[in-house]
């Protein structure tokens, strides 16, 4: 059964694979045997991740792509297939979230968050899935967010885009099921990344303070995304599709009271 988790001879494309959760997932998939295509706009972080992957003895390819441009996405997919022959796994991890109050958002803010967080994932899914269908199957993993289930007001458009991604997962899952392409979604809660903490990414004191608002008492570490991504990228999950997996330290289950709150004891009614 363990061998079902192996990704030997598989090729994975990961958007935003240079930093944070994207890097952690890339490394986990490489550890399981996959060759990795990393894509984003900025090349520097991609190259750093690629070097780590090569150290593990896997192949890595970096491609600078603006995923909000479908021609560039199609070109990226073509280059990946040219280089490695196939794509078995796609992780849509790129996202953009502008901190702006709802009543101050501009049309351009809307377009930016939607393009980067949703449209780009759609373009990538469309282009890669057609390759997967040709090759007889594959796995797509969309990285949404807790913001896609809640009314987080600081990044309002991002939350709307991430909710779209949850249903995009279901639509692709049903459409691609006959072709043995499974499509699932991960909803991370608060993780210690630049996305959540900005320049305080490595400030453990700030992370500890944030942890007080999370039931398990801490933020997630990026490496904790790896095994869940591997489960969904491998044959170990061949009967799972269209689902959303929440990894959030209990935040969603506990979204009814603060983490330390305990209901006062009340005796059961006697007949």
């Amino acid at each position: 059964m363990i061998e079902k988790f192996s990704l030997t001879d598989k090729v994975a494309v990961i958007t935003g694979g240079g930093t944070g959760l994207g890097r952690a997932m890339s490394l986990a998939l490489a550890e399981a045997g996959a060759d990795i295509v990393l894509t984003a706009r900025r090349m520097e972080p991609l190259n750093e991740t690629a070097a780590l992957i090569k150290q593990m003895g896997r192949r890595a390819l970096t491609i600078s792509t603006d995923i909000t441009n479908s021609e560039q996405v199609n070109g990226m997919v073509e280059s990946a297939v040219d280089a490695f022959g196939r794509i078995d796994i796609l992780i849509n991890n790129s996202a953009g979230a502008r901190n702006v109050a709802l009543d101050e958002t501009t049309d351009e803010d809307w377009k930016f968050d939607m393009d980067v967080s949703l449209t780009g994932a759609f373009y990538c899914s469309r282009a890669v899935s057609s390759e997967m269908v040709k090759k007889g199957g594959g796995k797509i993993i969309n990285i949404s967010s807790m913001s896609g289930l809640t009314g987080f007001p600081k990044t309002p458009i991002y939350g709307i885009a991430k909710a779209g991604m949850i249903n995009m997962t279901r639509v692709f899952a049903v459409a691609l099921a006959p072709h043995k392409v499974m499509v699932n979604c991960i909803l991370p809660g608060y993780f210690r990344t630049a996305g959540a903490l900005g320049e305080n990414e490595n400030n453990m004191e700030v992370a500890r303070k944030m942890g007080r608002f999370i039931p398990v008492g801490r933020m997630g570490e990026p490496a904790e995304m790896g095994p869940l991504a591997l489960l969904l990228a491998s044959s170990a999950s061949d009967y799972i599709t269209g689902q959303s997996f929440i990894i959030d330290g209990g935040t969603q289950a506990g979204r009814f009271a603060p983490p330390s709150f305990v209901l006062p004891t009340r005796e059961i009614e006697q007949p």
């Binding site: 363990i2 049903v174 039931p215 398990v216 869940l228 799972i240 330290g249 289950a253 506990g254």
Partner: protein, 237 residues
Amino acid sequence: MNFLSLEGKKILIFGKGRFSESILTALQEAGATLSHITWGLESEQIGEKYGIPSRIVNPSSESEIEGAIQKAIAELGDVDVLVNETMSESYRPFSDISLQEWQRSMDNNLIPPFLSTRAVSRHFLVKKKGKIINLVSALGDRGVAGGVAFGTAMGGLIQMTKSLGVEWAGEGIRVNGIGVGWFEGDAANEKVTRLIPLGRVGESWEVGPLVLYLALDASDYVTGQIFYVDGGIMVRP
């Protein structure tokens, strides 16, 4: 793939059902030390096949369950994970269900995991670490005619999973569930199978990888969740 290792972990598998072998195989392959407590007839066979202790208890006896769990933990030397496979299916149109059958469905499905979880939690709460994995049915979230009694009980177990996940989040204990869709051995006919996007029912082994994942330290940031394995039927149009 070192992060898939359960080397050194002591795991208690409690209950009976079609997924026992899938669970035991996955956990044993990952290197865990196992102990089995059941009320199933195949106890001896499982004990022999996996080379593990398999105890028989009366599923409604508080003292037997607590005693067996204490013995199993003493033998293992510790306990890191409890897996509850305690689903007890019964189907009948709602208006034909007797009070006795209704009560039995609630008792069969909710008393065993209550007792096993409470007994093991005493150890987990002391060491401030532990994992509980409950097998539940997607019928706890979706309705199917004839399935009200079982579905209601499963809804209860799903909510027990979520509530306990929160109650023990600060105690280092993680509580999650695996929600199963249509699997081999179920009553799914051709009409049902046609509705499953992946076009087939699940094979029992396909539950194992999820149990393995939720037993790992690597899933410590997951709690209060149900992970479904259902071939896509819950998202079908």
